[in-house]
Every structure is written in C-alpha cells, then in structure tokens.
Subunit: 345 residues, 4 copies
Amino acid sequence: MINVGIVGATGYAGAELVRLLAGHPEVTLSVLTSRQYAGQPFEAIYPSMKGQINLDCEAYDAAGLCDRADVIFMALPHKLPMAFVPELVAKGKKVIDLSADFRFSDPAAYESAYQPHTAKDLLSRSVYGLCEVFGDQIKTADLIGNPGCYATCILLPLYPLVKAGMIDVSTLIADAKSGASGAGRSLSLVTHICEITESFKPYKVGGHRHKPEMDEILTRAGAGTVDLTFIPHLIPMSRGMEATIYAGLRKDVTAADIAACLSESYGKCPFIRLYDHGLPVDTANVRGTNFCDIGFVLEKTKGRLVLMSVIDNLVKGASGQAVQNMNLMYGFEETAGLSAISFPV
Amino acid sequence: MINVGIVGATGYAGAELVRLLAGHPEVTLSVLTSRQYAGQPFEAIYPSMKGQINLDCEAYDAAGLCDRADVIFMALPHKLPMAFVPELVAKGKKVIDLSADFRFSDPAAYESAYQPHTAKDLLSRSVYGLCEVFGDQIKTADLIGNPGCYATCILLPLYPLVKAGMIDVSTLIADAKSGASGAGRSLSLVTHICEITESFKPYKVGGHRHKPEMDEILTRAGAGTVDLTFIPHLIPMSRGMEATIYAGLRKDVTAADIAACLSESYGKCPFIRLYDHGLPVDTANVRGTNFCDIGFVLEKTKGRLVLMSVIDNLVKGASGQAVQNMNLMYGFEETAGLSAISFPV
Amino acid sequence: MINVGIVGATGYAGAELVRLLAGHPEVTLSVLTSRQYAGQPFEAIYPSMKGQINLDCEAYDAAGLCDRADVIFMALPHKLPMAFVPELVAKGKKVIDLSADFRFSDPAAYESAYQPHTAKDLLSRSVYGLCEVFGDQIKTADLIGNPGCYATCILLPLYPLVKAGMIDVSTLIADAKSGASGAGRSLSLVTHICEITESFKPYKVGGHRHKPEMDEILTRAGAGTVDLTFIPHLIPMSRGMEATIYAGLRKDVTAADIAACLSESYGKCPFIRLYDHGLPVDTANVRGTNFCDIGFVLEKTKGRLVLMSVIDNLVKGASGQAVQNMNLMYGFEETAGLSAISFPV
Amino acid sequence: MINVGIVGATGYAGAELVRLLAGHPEVTLSVLTSRQYAGQPFEAIYPSMKGQINLDCEAYDAAGLCDRADVIFMALPHKLPMAFVPELVAKGKKVIDLSADFRFSDPAAYESAYQPHTAKDLLSRSVYGLCEVFGDQIKTADLIGNPGCYATCILLPLYPLVKAGMIDVSTLIADAKSGASGAGRSLSLVTHICEITESFKPYKVGGHRHKPEMDEILTRAGAGTVDLTFIPHLIPMSRGMEATIYAGLRKDVTAADIAACLSESYGKCPFIRLYDHGLPVDTANVRGTNFCDIGFVLEKTKGRLVLMSVIDNLVKGASGQAVQNMNLMYGFEETAGLSAISFPV
C-alpha cells in the first residue's frame, strides 16, 4: 500500500480522483488539500460520498504533504503546479500533474497557449502521460504531465496512424464535443442549466489551448509538422466527450490497413475498445469508465478517413488516466482501481 | 463462490443486476436469460459493458438454469414470475423476485392491484425483502419478494416511526417523484426525450399499484389500518427517486424523538444515511449507489412531520436491494458488491 | 400605444418581459435598464433576440424613465423596488413590481420573511396582482405587487375552494416543484448543470419566503388563519412549476362540488384550463404560455382532496402575469401579447 | 385569408405547422389529417394546445381536402406523398411537401437514397424550397419540395460561397449535430430518455439519406460535382441543429471576401443572421424561431474555412421554412406567422 495525496481535491477532477483512489486496492488516501474548503470534511463538500470518505480538507503544506504521501496528484488550475512541483520532486516524491504545466517538451509552445513557465528545467524530465502511447517512458518517470481531455480523445485514435505514415497530416481536422464538466466547478453562465439546456454550440473557435499540446505530440509522431484544425463544441450534458476526426489518407491505404494498425497498437490495451469499420461510438458507453472507444469509416473514393472516439472527460480525460499513470509507475495492475463495470443506463 | 442466474437480464433492472453482480466478490454470473435477445451476446445489447461481460443471452430453460445457478434473480414483468418460481423453489433454488408477485401476504391485496395469483401457496413462504426492516426473516428465507421502488423509498423512513406509535396513520400522505428509468426499457411516448424534456407531471393519480403494497406493510407495523394518499410524479431524468412524506404526529412527539427512533432503527445499517433536522436530501447523492438518505422537518405548532427520502430507483429501489437480500441470505458481508464510491457529479 | 419601461431588463424575468412586450400590440418598449450591462445593446446580452430588440440597456434614472414610459415594470431583486417605487408613483406612473416588496398588506408579514420595509405607506395602496382573483381591484390600481411564482401556482387552485368553505384550512399541504429558472440568472452551484443533472431535491425545507405571502392571501379568503405546510423542490430543468396540494375537505363535499366551484370561479378566465377529475396536468403543456392548468382527485373515503396545478414560472409565475396585470389596468384585451400558441414539444 | 390543410398533422413537423399557422395572420387552418388519430380532437393529442386549436383530426380524403383547402402541407414520411400529391396538384392545389419526395431533380439520386419514385414527371415541376437561395422560382411554383433539416443547415452557409467559386468542393466536410426531435415522434430506443441522457454519438456514419440531396444542390451551384463528407451526430436534447463545415479555399480568398459574399447573398434576408469572423453561434439562440445564424473562422495559413450554422430543426429545418415558402408563393410578408420573439432561456 502506498500513501496518496491529492492537491486540489474539491474540484471535479480532484473529487473524481478521490472516487477512484478510494476504491483502489493498492493505495491509502492520506491527504486532501483544498484552498477553498480547508478545515471542512470532504464529505460536506461532496455529500454523495457521505460516510465513504472520512478525511478533512487541508490547506496546502508541502512539508506535511511530503511526510504523509508517496505520490501526489496535482488537480489544480494551470500555473499553480509549476510553483509547487519543483519542491515536491526535489523531495523525491512522484508527481502526476493534471494541469498543462508539465505536458510540453517545448516551453515556447506552452507559453504560446498559457503563460511564462517558471519551472522549465523540469520539462525535459516530465513525461507526457498518454498511457497507451508513452507507457514505456511512464513506467520509469517520476513526473507526469497528464494529458488534456481533448488531447486524449483525439491523440489516441490518431497517433498510431500518423506514426505509421498513413495520413497526410496537412489535412487533419478534429471536430470535438465535450460535456460541461470539462469546464470545471467554477461558476459561469456557460454552465448555468438555463443557458445550456437545449443549447449546442462551438466555442473558442479562434484557438483552444489544447491545440498546441496536440500539435506537439502529433508532430513527434514523425510525419511532418502538424497544425491541426480543431473546433471544440459544448454538449448540454455533464460527462462525456466525442471527437470526429477527418484525415486525408496516403495513397492506397485501405480500411483493413487502418484496422490492422489500430489493432497492433492497441489490441492488448485494456482501456481501448476498437469498433469494426462503420460502427458508431457513443459517449454513454464509456461514462464513468476509463475506456476510450474508437471507430472509423473510410470513404474510399475520396481517400478520406473519418475517426470517431469517445471518452469520459473526467476519467480517461483526466483522473482515470492519472490513476492509470500511477499504476504504470508503480507496476500495479494497469486496471487497478479502474475496473468498475459501466452503468447500463 | 456461488453461481448466479438472472432471468430477464436485458431490462434495466436485469442489466443493473449484471453490473452489480459482475463486481461482486462472492459470485459468478453463470446464466443470463432474455426472451427478446436469446442467442445474442449480452454486450451487444449493452455496449457500455463491451469487453466486461462475456456471456450470451439464453432463452429461459428451467432445467438448465437450475443446473448452473444456485440463486436466481427474476427481473421480469409482473405475472411471469408466478408461473416460473414454483418450479425453481421446488428444485431447492433460492429465488429473489423483483416483480410484485411475491411481495404480498394477502393474495386479495395483490389481486386488487394486479391479476389473479396462480401461486398463492408460496405467499406465506416468501419474505418481503425490505432489508433494514425484515432482515432477520430474510436471512433464513429461500424466496424473496423484492420491494417496489416507491415502497422502498417511502417505507424506510416511515416504518419505524409508525411502529413506534409516533404517527397518526390516518394523516399519511406521500408525494413521490421518480426518474424515467422506473418505467423500464419498453417504448412509450412518456419516455420519449422530446415529450419529457422540460416536463414534470403527476401520473396515475387515481391509484398506483405500489399503494396496496405500502398499505399492507405499514398496517403490519401495528398502528392501525393504513390507507396512504400516494401521488407519484415523473422527473425529466433517468435515475433517482425522492419521496416527501407528510404525517400528523401523536401528541408531544419532538424532533429529538424522531431522530432517536430513526437512529435506533438504522444507526448500524450501512445503507441508510440519516440527516440532521432541517437538512434536505438530494437524489444526486445516491445515484448509482444502494444508499437511502433520510431527512426530516418537524413543524411543531402544527404537530406535522415532513420526512424526505431519496434512493436510486434502479439500485436500492430494485437491483441493489436484491443483491443486498442475497448477501443477507448467504451470510456475505452486507455491502459485498455494493460498496462503489458515488460519482461526485 | 403606451410606452413601457422595464427596470432590471437583463435578469430572466426582465428578459421574458422584453420577449412578451415586444410582441404586444398596444405597447412600445421604450426603456430597458440594467445595472450590470448599462450601455450595451440588449441583444448582446440575449443574442437569441439579435435583430429583434433594438434597444440599449441604460442605467436607472428616474427622471428619464418617467419622461419616456407610461407604465414601469420593476424586475429587480427584493428590497431595491421599495427604494425606487415611491418616486415613480408620486410622478403618476403606473408600476407593476415583480418583487415581493408590494405583495403584502401587513408590513410585519413582509418583514418576517424579508427585511425592514421602507415604503410601508404604499402597502395599502398596492394591489396583489393575482389576476383571476383580484381582477376588479387590479383594474383601478396604479401599483401592483405581482405574485410570486409558487404563490400563483398554489393560490389559483386553492383560493376559490377555501373561500367557498370547502376546505379545512388546518390540513393544507403544498408540495411544490420548480424548474431552475426560478433561481434566476445569478451564478450558484445549485444551477450548475453538473450539479443539477440527475438531481431532484427539496430545498429551504425549514421555511421559504413565499410562504407568508400565501398565508396572508389564503387567510384573506375568510376560512380561518392559514399556516400552510409548504415544501419546495428543484426539478432538473429550466422552465416549469408544479404544485400538488393536499387538503382535508369539509364534510360532504363531492368531486362535483369541487368541479363546480372551480368552474364558476374560472370558467371565463382565458388563462385557466380546468381538467376533469382524475386527469393529470403537465408542466410541458404550459411552457412558454400564461396558462395555469388545474386538475384534481378526490379521495372520498378519507375526505381528502388532491389539487394539481402547473404554470411556466417565468410567464404566469412572473412576467406573463405582469403583462396580464397591465392589460387589466389599461383595459386592453386580457390576452394581448399573451396569445402565442404553445410548442408541441 | 386562405384555407390551409395539413396532412399528417400529429407528427412533430405537422404539429409545429399547426402552431405556426394558427398564429398566421393570412390563413385559416381548415383541415388536419392523421392516420393514427382520425376522429379525435387535435388538442387531445397535443394538450399543450388545449383551448387554442379547435379542430378534430380527420382521415385523409383527397376530395374533401381539396374542397376545403387552398394550400396543402404534406407532413408525412417519405414515400406516401408521391402517392397523394399528383391528384392534389392536378386539382389545382398548391402543395408544400416536407418529405424528400419532391426535393430532387434527378430521380436516380432520389432512388439511390430512398425507393423507386412513382411520380417522376412532377420532379421537373417541383421547386426546391430553400427560400433564401431559390426564392424567385418559389414565388411562381405550385409544388415545393421543402428541404431536409440537415440540408437547410448546411446549404445556407455553403451555397453562395460555392457558387462564387471560393471553395474547392473536393475538400468539403460537414460535421452536423441534431436534437432528437429530428427523429420524429415514432418510438425508438434511440430517443428513450434513459438511453440518450448523457449520450452524444455519431450515427448513420456510412451514409445518411440527406447527403444526395445536398450533393445535388451543391453541384447545381456550378463549381464541380460535389461528394460531401457528411457525419451526423445526435445531441441529448429536443430541438436544435448545428453544422460545422470545413472547406479548403481557392487561393487568396480572405475573411473579408467570405463576409462580403455572405452579406451580399443574405443581407436582406430576414431569417439569416450573420456573425462577425470568429464569433460562435448557438442553437439556443434560434430555438423556436425560423432563423439560421451563420458564423465563420478562416485559418489563413492553411487556407481552410470553418463555417458554423444553427437552426431549429423543426422550424427553419422543416415547418417554419414550409410556411416561409407559402408566404413567398402567395406574396405574403415573408415573416408572416414567423415573427415570434425568441425565448431568452
């Protein structure tokens, strides 16, 4: 058993970490921090967990945290982690950061989308925690930049196909849709039920900050510099994310080639479920789970591939993948804490 | 490990049994039957469980079922179980029936709400599976009539208070509200999203068939014959049920008395969570769990008590309580298979 | 044509007034005020009305408002109107106030639920704007206290029956349910889509401030002092309100008596639709309209009446009734501006 | 005043026609037909219109219909209209058909997506009722093929740009999303609230029958044969449709060129609202209205245009556009019956 601390435990990603880790057979939840709710019982903030989580929220205190936790999940807004993480890593702690602060190799790419980076030297040490793609590096890492939700949903289907040279990267378009929990627990008219009911809309159409993250990783796949067209949309629901991705194929790639490439890459991955050609995916099928379901259609006469993928943005798109990263880092069963059966409805 | 069969596995209650039992540490799912989908993989009907449940649906066959299952959950519409259960019980199987067929002691009460009963002799043998109230009898039973969802939500807060003589039963009113999954998976305009969105409505206001079930059990509490006023309503959502119950108090009963009675009755019950006077409950807090949360307000000058209780109608109101009944019958940990941490949102 | 000003035009009630009055054949919208958005085009705040409403929001200025408006709708939070209204009334303007500030006859009742009243002398002058009940007084009024949404939904079915002496007022219970738009446009976790999805809950169970308003009006009906048991609940949707009301009947009152009393009271009212005994109502049927649909069930053996009523909380429960009040005050057709056909779904 | 008949009045498109035409200043609703509900009052099927629509549903009878109606709206499933329309047109009636039966010029295109066409000779006579594009022909037509919802939402933004030669049609991709009312009132698990809540999914990814309709019209714009990539998705809500369209630009086309082209084409159209570059659209803004809101983003370095458009699928995508077609055919004000102000929320 290892001891685990969660920094920022009362946001949605933090609370989802609490849910998953409380049921994890190899860990003990030992520290929950919350700026806003320090001193209050966690279950007072999330009464659904009444009687199930018996910890109080604490103010952040690096020394106390390091004394009582072996691995630390950072579930804070961007910018805060880069102030805290250097000390934690220096003290020998393993850190899994759910913000963007340690996702980039290139500080300039980070700074183009966020703000000046104050812990640049750690970027070469951190590993991008897309488990099914960078698992080998993750196993030996002590600092993980846990991928963004959109990045997870879009990179998982695309990365192996780009790497295999099947796709003309200049044609890449990702039309993505997210439930409202991706916007977090902070208050905004955007997530007011009266404004979002019977509303579907694109947003941040001029540039979403997950795009540079995806461009960097896809470029790393080695088929040329990627400058993705990426349009996110907001779905009137809480959990779930879908991406429909359009890509021009390199000459003569067939549906069988696509299926084979995905199968070779992911056939043994417990959280990737591949669908046969032409079968659609559904966010409802992955709700509350760490699965990424991937389907595709190939339009032969146009040489165009349509990929479709779905995740639960709070699980595979955030906290579930973070737990999966921990499992890889510690050599636990990859599915430990993540094997709950899905709701039928 | 015991072997478990589910008859009617593809309805919502059946599929929820699959979800819960697949994660139960003491059981092996061995038989799933479905009239409609016999021969098809269960995961083809519920793709959310793709890769998690590897059984095919079968046609109902009593002999094969008895060969391969120790305990049998019946998740069929009313009337069918009374045709099947006598044979199963005769073969020494334990049966937990989720329909109304074995909930009543008095066949006349059953027949007033449903249809002629063809297995009346089993009614004296069956036990009403309201776990927190009739646990002692459940432990030695081999046939359980699993309570209706409304009955569970309303009887749990009321039963001990009526039994303790605190309530004037002639004043009892239950205003109950249910999510649409209570109507099941069969098709109806009532559950068409376009008809139910932005709709809230009472229904079956002239008489709902769960009422005689509640009247019989509450009368059994010994404070006089109960003839409940019961108005159910439909909430535009999938899972969750709330009951607000109004009751005139016997003279001089105080809020402290109410709290003490509930606490004495349920203080050690893992699935009942009691709220302090004046604190409201919320269906979201019990979603996906086997909890029943109970709150209350006492209006002193009027001598009127308001009880509020919430359950997940598919879990504590159906499949979860059925599993809890099995746990009691077999002496398993009461929470086995039912201890998942709730979703934060 | 009369000129109309709306003070607080960018809250939900204010914006709904804009919608209704922009389509009213007898009025010209001349002034829209908004503290928060002064100087901005109204359509920038409500882009659904882009190209339909060509007014800018202004800061509140009593002199300018009185110059350009004949009748003024106040759609502000409680407490603000009592500071502004005396000056407007003194200048001879007709005022329809949607807050609670001018709903009470008894200042003490107001103060028990809100705060000290600073314009008490106007309370005897203001008329409670429940159109179907107090229409005669409304016609000659120049200051209207527009009823609360819960009060409208509960008083309309109850008032004539209480007045007719059919009901034992000591037994009155109102179990009411509201869509989230009743909480307004201000930000709160309560209306965050992730918190309200799949949530149904009672709230303010220890005392909601609409209760003294209902007690005062029902007491005025003359059947004794009323101390209503009132439990409000929140429905996971935007618009719509339902009340299920339980009442003990005076001896020998029949279903025919109830139907006759309601029909005599409301048979000629264009916005009340009466349902036959035993037929349920539905908030979806009144969405976007000024209708109040009323149904009932009489439980003969218990002498108990169940009334059910539905309104759109933003229309009949607020802005629509305010427009209806204006129509009565000016002798316009009662349905002017309020005759839109309902959406089928 | 003209007399209007609606054939198939109880489906969602038919009922929406009832709503719109009942409020139309130039028409009298005279005949409503319904196979399923013949003999019943229309308001019994749509109780939201209780007291507002006082017509009974009738069985279809061509002679009676022609006696009592000048213009006939056909709101039937595909295939039925081509059996009925020839007789109506022969009798000199004007017909607006909401099915696909009279949308195509090329019978082969129709037959590829639907079934054999039995009234091919009428195809050259019928006019494709995309009002803002083919208004001149509509004015003199007596048979209108009212466009599909997806076709309306996608063709309106695209058609003028394709016609102006700004777009490389080989690159066209339309990622479209629809509320569930597009699937109609017939029962299906797809629209069961429990299945669609918290679900977002692509569907008919191998080929949707609206695609040939769009291909034919876009090809008619004269920039080459169009073979659109079209992926529809289902949104967990009732009304509303959004399309995000991706197109490669012909060299040197600027954002100003796009804006100018759209403005020249639609600047005087009362139901098209153009958004400035980079501003997103929202289905909530057009709910219940006949508007189509259009926005765009131009990605200069890639020469790629992103168009975004929203409609209410039941109004501009079906019944509203049908009424607009009638207005054009009769020389009524184009906005007659369609000028309702939108709901703020």
